[in-house]
Amino acid sequence: NDSFIGDQVLRITANSEEQIYMLKDLAELDHLQLDVWREAVKPEDSMDIHVPHSSLQTVKAFLESHGISYSVMIEDVQSVVDHERAEMLAARSTAQIRS
């Protein structure tokens, strides 16, 4: 029952090798608790990082100050998880009715 309220997944596109290294260093900062969902190996590859709500401001400020472009891939992770859970419950009750 971990909560992901306000967590986002950012899709980040580095435009140089140097920016990729900066992102890797950022991802290794334990206190930010970032979870790399998809890594980038070369410029123009996109990198997806799950960012806890508490680290969002820091991460976005870092990206903007270094001119690294990003977009929000998942606006609120918890809302997607809630939706998924509701779908599963609904499917299960339909199956029970059917049986």
């Binding site: 979870d35 190996v41 996109s46 998942i74 998924e84 779908e87 499917a91 199956a95």
Partner: protein, 306 residues
């Protein structure tokens, strides 16, 4: 199993029950076997599809070694049903199963999978306790004895790519190692992950090309082409290290080192909209397109004995 809802995600218990039903529905084709138990004591089950013979050349498929990649377990369920129902009806699958056995491990990391359903939907690793730290779990796709401990895996237990204290330290990994070695006649090994739409072959731990690179590359191209033909899903393919990143201790590097030439790993849909939270309505399209690629690999394995 016809009434099972393949278009939705299911818990471990539901999947294990479904396995029993599949085995009882196809008693002359499907058996459920236990190859070990997980760190927390859950059984590690595989489905064996066999039409007879002793220790035939075989194809291995596993899904969901990273527990949060739910579309992979769901794809495994769909594919297992497809194999069972196609035997005797589809010429290609019938011909494969008349010569070879197929093994599928649908929930390769059951502790992690249970944890994603009950505590943390985003859990990736096993649930083994690491001495000296509160951080739990090992990345089972960094725990194999192939470049173990090298770059592309972490020595930090809190990392999502923690390699573990030693190769095969994870019971979930060791069970497959023991099975593959005891069997001795596995000819293709397909390990399925998500997401990012890739089909990869060894190596991940070194940039040295594999000796069979050209054949593996050409086969990957054909498999991806078949996959894309259904819904136009775009895939990239190549070796792990050149296509995504350096990763040591990975599954298919180990299987290739064991002499299993046709060693591949998939990264299924999507391409960056939902990640590990791919909506359930995409399970069947994902499974259908993946099946086409897996079938190409299986047919090639059947037609090119070694």
């Amino acid at each position: 199993t016809n009434s099972f809802d393949y278009a939705n995600y299911h818990t471990l218990e539901e999947i294990y029950n479904w396995m029993d039903e599949l085995a009882s529905e196809y008693p002359h084709l499907v058996t459920k076997e236990q190859i070990g138990s997980s760190y927390e004591g859950r059984p590690l089950y595989i489905l064996k599809f066999s039409t007879g013979g002793n220790n035939r050349p075989s194809i291995w498929i596993d899904t969901g070694i990273h527990s949060r990649e739910w579309v992979t377990q769901a794809t495994g369920v769909w594919m297992a049903k497809k194999i069972a129902s196609d035997y005797g009806n589809d010429e290609s699958i019938t011909s494969i199963l008349d010569q070879m056995d197929i093994f599928i491990e649908i929930v390769t990391n059951p502790d992690g999978f249970h944890f994603t359903h009950t505590k943390n939907r985003m859990w990736r690793k096993t649930r083994s306790i690491n001495a000296g730290t509160s951080c739990v779990g090992v990345d089972p796709n960094r725990n194999w004895d192939a470049g173990f401990g090298g770059p592309g895996a972490s020595s930090q237990p809190c990392s999502e790519t923690y390699r573990g204290p030693r190769a095969n330290s994870e019971k979930e990994v060791k069970a497959i190692v023991d099975f593959v070695q005891a069997h001795g006649n596995i000819k293709a090994f397909v390990s399925i992950h998500s997401y990012s739409q890739l089909l990869l072959y060894p190596y991940g731990y070194t940039s040295t090309p594999v000796p069979d690179k050209q054949e593996l590359h050409d086969l990957a191209q054909r498999a991806v082409s078949a996959l894309s033909s259904l819904y136009g899903t775009s895939y990239r393919y190549g070796s792990i290290i050149t296509t995504i990143y350096q990763a040591s201790g990975g599954t298919i590097d180990w299987t290739y080192k064991q002499g299993i030439k046709y060693s591949y790993t998939f990264e299924l849909r999507d391409n960056g909209r939902y990640g590990f939270l791919l909506p359930a309505n995409q399970i069947i399209p994902t499974a259908q397109e993946t099946w086409l690629a897996v079938k190409v690999i299986m047919e090639h394995t059947r037609d090119n004995p070694y």
